[in-house]
Amino acid sequence: MDDERLTRDVPAVALRDVGYAYVTAGAVTQALAGVSLEVPRGGTVAFVGPSGCGKSTLLKLISGLLPATVGTIAVDGRPVTGPLTNVGMAFQNPVLLPWRSVLDNVLLPLEILRANGDPRAPESDRWRDRAVTLLATVGLSGAERRQPRELSGGMRQRVSLCRALIHQPAMLLLDEPFAALDAFTREEMWELYQRLRAEREFTGVLVTHDLREAIFLADTIYVLASHPGRIAHTHRVALPRPRTLSLVYGAEGSELMRLMREQIRPARETAA
């Protein structure tokens, strides 16, 4: 990537005193206040916390889909002023386009970038190979021509991940991406994410309710409190990589999980 030299020492994401407020029915709601953090290039951070603590809002602020009310957000050292095009997003709902095949769903980002003259989109004759390779990485070889309705929830989420990664974004933003999956599929997805991260260089920002998921995937976990949404606790996850399920379910992981649960509980009670 051209600007790698430039951004090596600059954090992938830097937030300084970021706040977000919105007005509904004449009342101002302070959704987030005083959020400062840095995500190093290639790192993965996770936001956990009670419902309504502004986790998803934080993700939208970083992606530029929402403008911060106060504070500054910089990605790769540049202030965020509008929607970033160098990110991939995946949500709890995989939102595949049901009228497109798996392959055409994965190719959507390239179509849009190409139409907008973005240099990161290759010539269209190379799209297919790239998508087929990526789909193979997530275990979906041969599924290119299938329709989203024919796939299981886990398979759809894999396709959604491929769509988020096809344009080789510098950052992957995940909003509870595996929350709707059964426990075993979810653990498979954690391992898939870990593998993808080892193979491709991207910075990950994850919003999740699942503390195990945060421990498995993140280098740093931010526990948010609500009213207003703010960072209450920060945990570095010291577990070595690659992580395994037994490591995460082991003593150290369980201790961290217990601690975070204690930190979220009072926040839940005040929120209710």
Binding site: P98, W99, L108, I112, R149, R163
Partner: protein
């Protein structure tokens, strides 16, 4: 019998049964043909006047389709405008609903004043009846899930690109569903106008048959209308299934 065959054979059997019962009742009860002709008599008249009936049916079909095509065009435009902009929605939607509650038959005399007796009022009546279902269904465009917008937006897609790549295809099932409703409405509209203000078309044929007390021909016209209505609806129902199969899978 399989479930598919059942769905064809059962209604067909009931239909044939009803026709036979009608025929039998007319004969047994000695009903005056001028009040209620037997189906066999209707069929005979239809066969004898096949030429004129075909001419008038063709005229009604063309009138209906002209009004229908115009309605689809305007309905699409209006629907996209309403679905694409909250301002347009707030400004136009209530008016549209109000306009739609006017019985369109009441507009026909006005159309005759402006355009005279003939094809134009019939085409316009068909159009007036048919554009509303198209516009309302296409306007559903506005209710795109946030994530469906966020994915293309986070790639730098413009509003126009989101509209074209996500909004329009997602609206297609509703659009095609509205076509079969719209074509039936257009058909109703053209026949209503033909009945009172035309000199061609099945509606006109029936009006003439009624003034001549030609009950057989009136029933013949009714049978043709029934057939045409089912055919038009059926064609667009099949197109809908073919084009937007993905919307019916779950």
């Amino acid at each position: 019998m399989g479930p598919r065959a059942r769905r064809v054979v059962l209604p067909l059997a009931v239909f044939v049964g009803l026709v036979l019962a009608w025929e039998g009742a007319v004969v047994v009860l000695r009903v005056q043909p001028i009040v209620l002709p037997p189906p066999s008599g209707v069929a005979l008249t239809m066969a004898r006047t096949a030429g004129p009936i075909a001419f008038h049916a063709w005229h009604t079909l063309v009138t209906t389709l002209l009004g229908f095509v115009a309605a689809v065009g305007l309905g699409l435009l209006l629907g996209f405008a309403i679905g694409g902009s909250a301002t347009v929605n707030d400004a136009i939607y209530p008016l549209l609903v109000g306009f739609n509650s006017i019985p369109k038959a009441a507009v026909v005399p006005l159309l005759v004043m402006w355009f005279g007796i003939g094809t134009v009022p019939a085409v316009l009546t068909a159009f007036l009846l048919a554009f509303f279902p198209v516009a309302v269904n296409v306007a559903v465009l506005a209710t795109l899930e946030t994530e469906l917008r966020d994915v293309p937006r986070s790639l730098g897609a413009s509003r126009w690109q989101i509209f074209r790549k996500v909004g329009v295809p997602r609206t297609m099932p509703l659009f095609f569903a509205s076509l079969k409703v719209a074509v039936s409405s257009a058909f109703v509209g053209s026949v209503i106008a033909e009945t009172v203000a035309s000199n061609a078309g099945i509606g006109y044929l029936m009006a003439v048959a009624a003034s001549d007390f030609n009950t057989r021909l009136a029933f013949g016209g009714l049978a043709v209308l029934a057939g045409m209505g089912v055919l038009l609806y059926g064609i667009f129902a099949i197109i809908e299934r073919r084009v937007t199969a993905w919307a019916y899978a779950e």
